[in-house]
């Protein structure tokens, strides 16, 4: 098994649509972490979105078309890695469910899904990374995004890696496992409710005393960063990959350059 892993080194990076559109530096941080771990990283240009907006809005037909395309594009890689628990959860847990009654695609989807990982869990659980070469002087708090936590069981992995960042102090917030209120289209379909939930979240973030908020999902991060900024908070918000890759020279989410 180990030998097999050491020979299988080609990773297809599923960038995720939000990272592609809003924050490319997360993509580059992911590439660096994967390359540092000894993997060859490829980014297929034909990728778009994992299909969650359609899937969670009840549009099964479009979701299936998008899923087929994604599988076709990525099934040739040894691993498919995404810097998002939510998108990785979609590819890993929901794609097989979408095709379970489709004899032509069921096996294909299963084989594809078996190779899908969220970034931090891939680094620790598959690549066996125990420490990263990065430093950050200051305190951070970590929000456990829902899909990563409850669909993929990601909790310890990012914390383990963060513990190896020189100078970094992790200050846990209360209820780090409670939803931030983003929920994909939920936050625009039910903005009033979403707002109350993110208010509760920013209260916990502020109370942690940390000066930086990290998480593994850009959707949640944009939601929390947007709320913190509206409240006039000085807390910086970044994707965990940026810190782990030592790439914190770009402005934090929602902040301007310089």
């Amino acid at each position: 098994m180990n030998q097999h892993i050491s020979q299988s080194r080609r990773v297809g990076l599923f960038v995720t649509c939000l990272v592609d559109l809003f924050r490319p530096c997360i993509g580059f941080a992911s590439v660096k972490l994967l390359e540092d771990a000894g993997y060859e990283v490829d980014v297929p240009m034909a990728q778009t979105c994992c299909g969650q907006p359609s899937y969670n809005s009840g549009d099964r037909e479009d979701t299936i078309s998008i899923a087929r395309k994604t599988i076709e594009i990525f099934e040739g890689y040894d691993y498919i890695v995404a810097p998002s628990g939510s998108c990785a959860g979609m590819l890993k847990k929901h794609y097989p469910a979408l095709f379970q009654d489709d004899s032509a695609w069921a096996e294909r989807a299963k084989a594809f899904s078996a190779k899908v990982y969220e970034l931090t869990s891939f680094l620790t659980d598959v690549a066996g990374v125990t420490a990263v070469e990065a430093a950050l002087a200051g305190s951070v708090t970590y929000h456990d995004s829902c899909s990563g936590l409850r669909e993929l069981g990601i909790r310890e992995q990012p914390r383990k890696l963060l513990a190896s960042v020189k100078g970094l102090e992790l200050k846990e917030m209360e209820d780090s496992d409670v939803c931030c209120g983003f929920g994909g289209t939920f936050c625009v379909k039910y903005p009033d409710i979403s707002n109350r939930i993110v208010e509760e979240k920013t209260k916990s973030i502020e109370a942690s005393g940390a000066r930086m908020l990290l998480a593994g999902d850009l959707g949640c991060l944009m939601n929390m960063a947007g709320k913190l900024q509206r409240q006039g908070s000085s807390i910086e918000v970044r994707h965990v990959a940026e810190v782990l890759a030592g790439m914190t020279d770009t402005p934090a989410i929602g902040r301007r350059k310089g």
Binding site: V15, C17, D20, L21, F22, R23, P24, C25, G27, F28, V43, M45, A46, T48, G51, P53, S54, Y55, S57, G58, D59, R60, D62, T63, S65, I66, K69, C146, S147, R150, D177, V178, C179, G181, G183, G184, T185, F186, C187, V188, K189, Y190, P191, D192, I193, S194, N195, R196, I197, V198, E200, M222, A225, G226, R230, P251, I253, G254, R255, R256
Partner: protein, 479 residues
């Protein structure tokens, strides 16, 4: 009760600005969650018990007709009567017929969500029969003319101060200077007021947490002892139960009881677990002369064999709503019908139609905390998604949403077009956002920018940057 699920958004807006509700809901967040976590952690076999409970319910649902018939035969054998009610109206009429047969004037009631579902209290009052709720929470909301906002803690939306006011208003015969500053003193007062009602009642109505097919037994799980007095003291005991409450054996019951209270209140067992089998026998010291069970379907049998069958495993512990961030924010009344929270979001569309209850399965972030704590491992988010699929295929969701989504999907399915569109749009958006790094107002995104800033795109898309990096690498290699 009036179905207010279609105006869920309006209900939510009102709930979000209600300071009393916000204060009251803090108890849900702090009390229930912590206690459940401790109870689950203290029992090494808790997770296995969840699996076992799920297996018992799955087996039962696969043979529901068989177990219900076996149950009926046992009830009849022990001298009781089983009445089959296809609809809420059928159930109401059966209750009325039984009450009228003994010329009942007063009916005491233990806690029952089925009673809410069939709107029994209003119906009885319209026929000059006085229903008296004896569960403390139910008693409080009856005083207030409200409906439960939680399936096991009906008055959880109220603060102690609100309840004190209600008691002072309703219990006029008591000294005005009395101390009602603690929940316990209020409980004592409610007990005193209710005590005489038990003896005045001609009929006692309870729900059932379980029905045991093996023995023809109905089971109630309570903490106040009011259920026992309700079902033992009057001449007639009526059990209201929906068909999925049946379990095959007493041993199955014992297994599921081990996860019920732990999931609900964090207790190992609730204070009272009462098993009733038939009317009073000649040697029994007490008990009712007549024992009736009304088995309500009300749409449940049509869930069997569909993607919603798993919902019928629900044992009504309330853990899903206790852990739901949406429920915490808006409270139970916002859901607009009998069953709130995640279990209501799945069950309500089954019972009153997705055309009326469509908001409920949509108003979820799919955070998955409900499924994570459900003792019966009901895949609640998955079933909410199934409702969204039914809505979508029937064209029930708003047109703007549909078009927006279809447009997104159109591009997501066509990588080259997608790439072209995003490569053009993102840098432009970034240009407008670069001064602040974010937007305070953004056209077409007011749902977002009403409450939060919208982070601006960094610059060009990742794909544009990546292509350039690869080209540079290629160039470096060839030169």
């Amino acid at each position: 009760m009036e179905i207010r699920s279609p105006v869920f958004k309006k209900n939510a807006r009102a709930a979000l600005v209600d300071p009393q509700l916000r204060k009251a809901m803090e108890h849900v967040k702090t009390g229930f969650i912590h206690k459940r976590a401790l109870a689950a952690a203290a029992l090494p076999e808790f997770e296995q018990l969840r699996d076992a409970g799920k297996a018992i319910k799955d087996l039962t649902l696969a043979n529901l007709d068989k177990y219900l018939e076996a149950y009926e035969a046992k009830v009849t054998e022990s001298g009781g009567h089983v009445h089959w009610a296809e609809t809420a109206e059928d159930a109401r009429n059966i209750v009325l017929r039984i009450c009228q047969s003994v010329e009942a004037k007063t009916v005491t009631k233990g806690k029952s969500m089925i009673s809410e579902e069939i709107e029994l209290n209003d119906f009885l009052e319209a026929h000059d029969i006085r229903p008296v709720e004896t569960d403390l929470g139910e008693y409080i909301i009856q005083l207030r003319g409200e409906h439960p906002s939680h399936i096991i803690a009906p008055a959880v939306h109220l603060t102690r101060e609100q309840v004190e006011k209600d008691f002072r208003r309703a219990h006029t015969g008591l000294p005005p200077g009395r101390d009602l500053s603690k929940p316990l003193t209020m409980l004592a007062e409610a007990r005193k007021v209710l005590r005489s009602q038990y003896f005045a009642a001609d009929v006692g109505i309870t729900g059932a947490n379980f029905l045991v097919a093996e023995t023809g037994t109905s089971v109630i799980v309570t903490n106040e002892g009011n259920g026992d007095l309700t079902q033992i003291l009057p001449r007639v005991h009526i059990v209201l139960a929906s068909i999925e409450k049946v379990v095959p054996t007493l041993s199955d019951l014992a297994q599921i009881l081990r996860v019920l209270a732990r999931s609900a209140t964090g207790q190992d067992m609730s204070v009272y677990t009462t098993l009733s089998t038939g009317p009073r026998r000649p040697d029994d010291p007490d008990g009712p002369e007549q024992y009736h069970v009304i088995l309500l379907d009300n749409g449940r049998s049509s869930m069997i064999g569909t993607e919603f069958q798993d919902m019928l495993r629900c044992i009504r512990c309330g853990a899903c709503m206790n852990h739901c961030p949406v429920y915490h924010a808006v409270g139970g009344h916002t859901y607009g019908w009998v069953y709130p929270g995640p279990m209501g979001a799945v069950l309500t569309p089954s019972l009153i139609g997705v055309d009326k209850a469509g908001h409920l399965p949509n108003a979820s972030t799919f955070c998955g905390r409900c499924e994570a704590v459900c003792p019966m491992r009901i895949p609640l988010p998955k079933m909410m998604r199934h409702w969204r699929e039914r809505e979508f295929s029937r064209g029930l969701n708003p047109a703007t949403q549909r078009y927006g989504l279809r447009a997104w999907a159109f591009f997501a399915k066509r990588p080259r077009l997608y790439r072209m569109a995003t490569s053009l749009a993102v840098p432009v958006l970034s240009l407008f956002g670069r001064r602040r790094g974010s937007f305070r107002v953004l056209p077409l995104a007011s749902g977002w920018t009403k409450y939060r800033d919208m982070p601006s795109p960094e610059g060009r898309t990742f794909m544009q940057e990546w292509k350039q990096r690869e080209a540079r690498k290629q160039g470096g290699q060839t030169s």
